[in-house]
Amino acid sequence: MKRMIVILLRNPLSLLGLILVLLVLILAVFADFIAPFPDHRGAVIDFVHFNKPPTSRNIFGSDLVGRDLFSRVIYAYRISLILGVVVLAIATPVGTVVGLLAGYLGGKFEFVLMRLTDVFLSIPPLVLAIAMMGVLEPTLLNAMLAVTVMWWPWYARLVYNIARSEREEGYVLAAEVIGASTFHITFREILPNCLPAIITKMTLDMGFVIIIVSSLSFLGLGVQPPTPDLGSMVAEGARYLPDSWWLTVFPGLAILVAVFGFNLIGDALREIFGADQ
């Protein structure tokens, strides 16, 4: 662990990633103290300052009802991060268990589970989430649900592939010979070998979840106003191009910064774990 952090800090790219992710985390966690206008995350109207380009008062400019865009971007980060954590916290264990069982047990179990994941994976990810949001009321909770449903098969696939190759390995066979339970073999023997891949994928996926969620709200199927959300800010602002460019450019760059940060770290992790194995 300590060695990992040292490696992360030594590589300029992963250092940049750490800085970006920390920045985003700090902004999101301490939004109440950092945002110049904390109440602007809700329904506030300020007609003196509406639709203004960046100034020293509103460094990202102000939106169409006069709210400070910088404050709203900060609060939107908070929502994006919560969504990302929750989605991964559900999708990862579910997918991992399905993948482990299918990979280790094989047989009919394998066929059914893997065809099930095939069904989910053969609907382009965003299309499935969009179709689900068409059914559900567009709320924060449902957006989480829709994205989670499309996410778990990827973990199932990943873990399945590893588990399938591991099940012929000596240590697994040895455990079988001494009569270890299926539970023990899957979770105690095989799972630890999947962890590096899972952790790497989770870091990269943090960025992807932010992308997918913002895509949903870009289409009007995600978090609803007045709750600030990066995707809906871009969608809303795009109507006012090119005159009010700040309405789209800053929220768009905000997505880029956060996802880029997670991707840089994920990349570095992949190299570290890759080198380890």
Partner: protein, 342 residues
């Protein structure tokens, strides 16, 4: 039976099972939509009698299993029902909008391969040196933003500030092109109208590039990673020892084995692009299936939702099938293997 045929049959069988699964999934989702599709379809001024009549016609009063049965029997006749939003057969709507989306996605796919692979090769060849760092950073940036952000940024820069490209649509309305394939880039060439072709080309470049950017990044990263791995193999070291030109080594020895994993990812990225087209089409007013899809989802137009998702999934499966076959042809181990792959 030649192994490739067996593989093809195996794949087709699985694709069929998957499609049936998709149809059940989407059918289930579409039927639990809250709200009465008949009322929504008939609009604000419809009477109760009209609504009841339409419910009867649409079999909405039957159980979901009976409804699915009707759906399957209609489907077997190539009938996806009537869109309640456009009042036209869903197949007709899809036939009209699908070519625009496919043209966009294919063009983006060409960009992904045509730009992403060379960047990856280049990056691997100069690994550890500055072109490698620049390419890696750029390709990571490419995958770090949703395509609608790229679409908006590209539009702002190359259509508003530097008006090089048109901001929306597929072709200028002063051109009247006979539609044979629905792919304007092909139809304009078939008509021999080169100014129309360049017009259509200028329309597709920005949206396709916005759509392709993350794929380009992905392809470049992957190709690089695979090639770097290959570079460490003994036969490359041998080729280097023999004094082959670096470029020849890169293109001939290091690239080829790296192509197979890259192709797999390209198939997956194609799927992502079919979904991301929803975002890019919205920004560039591209008259494709995705815009239609969003419209029908917002209107709870059941037949159209099911039809759209089924067609997109079928397209995706077909592309993956083609990718699998290409891999099979490229990889002698699979080509000659008796078992095929699962």
């Amino acid at each position: 039976m030649p192994p490739v045929f067996r593989l093809l049959l195996n794949r087709l069988g699985i694709s069929f099972i998957v499609l049936v699964g998709v149809s059940m999934l989407i059918f289930g989702i579409a039927r639990i939509i809250p709200g009465d599709p008949a009322r929504i379809a008939l609009g604000p001024n419809a009477t109760v009698e009209q609504i009841d009549k339409l419910r009867e016609t649409l079999h909405l009063n039957d159980s979901i299993f009976v409804q699915y049965g009707y759906f399957l029997s209609d489907l077997s006749r190539g009938d996806l029902g009537v869109s309640l939003y456009t009042n036209r057969p869903v197949t007709q709507d899809i036939a009209q909008f699908l070519p625009a989306t496919l043209e966009l996605v294919f063009f983006a796919g060409v960009m992904m391969v045509g730009i992403g692979l060379p960047l990856g090769i280049w990056s691997a060849r100069y690994r550890g040196r500055w072109p490698d760092h620049v390419i890696r950073l750029l390709s990571l940036l490419g995958v770090s933003a949703p395509s609608f952000v790229w679409a908006v940024i590209l539009m702002l820069v190359f259509a508003f500030y530097l008006p090089i490209f048109p901001i929306a649509g597929r072709i200028s309305d002063s051109y009247e092109i006979q539609r044979f394939t629905g792919f304007l880039l092909i139809d304009t060439l078939l008509a021999g109208d080169f100014s129309a072709f360049s017009d259509a080309l200028s329309h597709i470049i920005l949206p396709a590039f916005a759509l392709a950017l993350s794929g380009i990044g992905q392809a470049a990263r992957l190709t690089r990673a695979n090639m770097v791995e290959t570079y460490d193999k003994p036969y490359i070291e041998m080729a280097q020892a023999y004094g082959f030109k670096a470029r020849r080594i890169a293109n001939k020895f290091a690239f080829k084995p790296s192509l197979i994993p890259s192709l797999t990812i390209i198939g997956l990225d194609f799927a992502a692009m079919l979904g991301n087209a929803f975002l890019v089409e919205a920004v560039f007013a591209w008259p494709g299936l995705s815009r239609y899809g969003v419209a029908v989802i917002l209107r709870k137009d059941l037949n159209a939702i099911i039809g759209t998702v089924l067609i997109i999934s079928a397209t995706f499966l077909i592309v993956n099938l083609i990718v699998d076959l290409m891999i099979a042809f490229l990889n002698p181990r699979i080509r000659y293997s008796e078992r095929g792959s699962t």
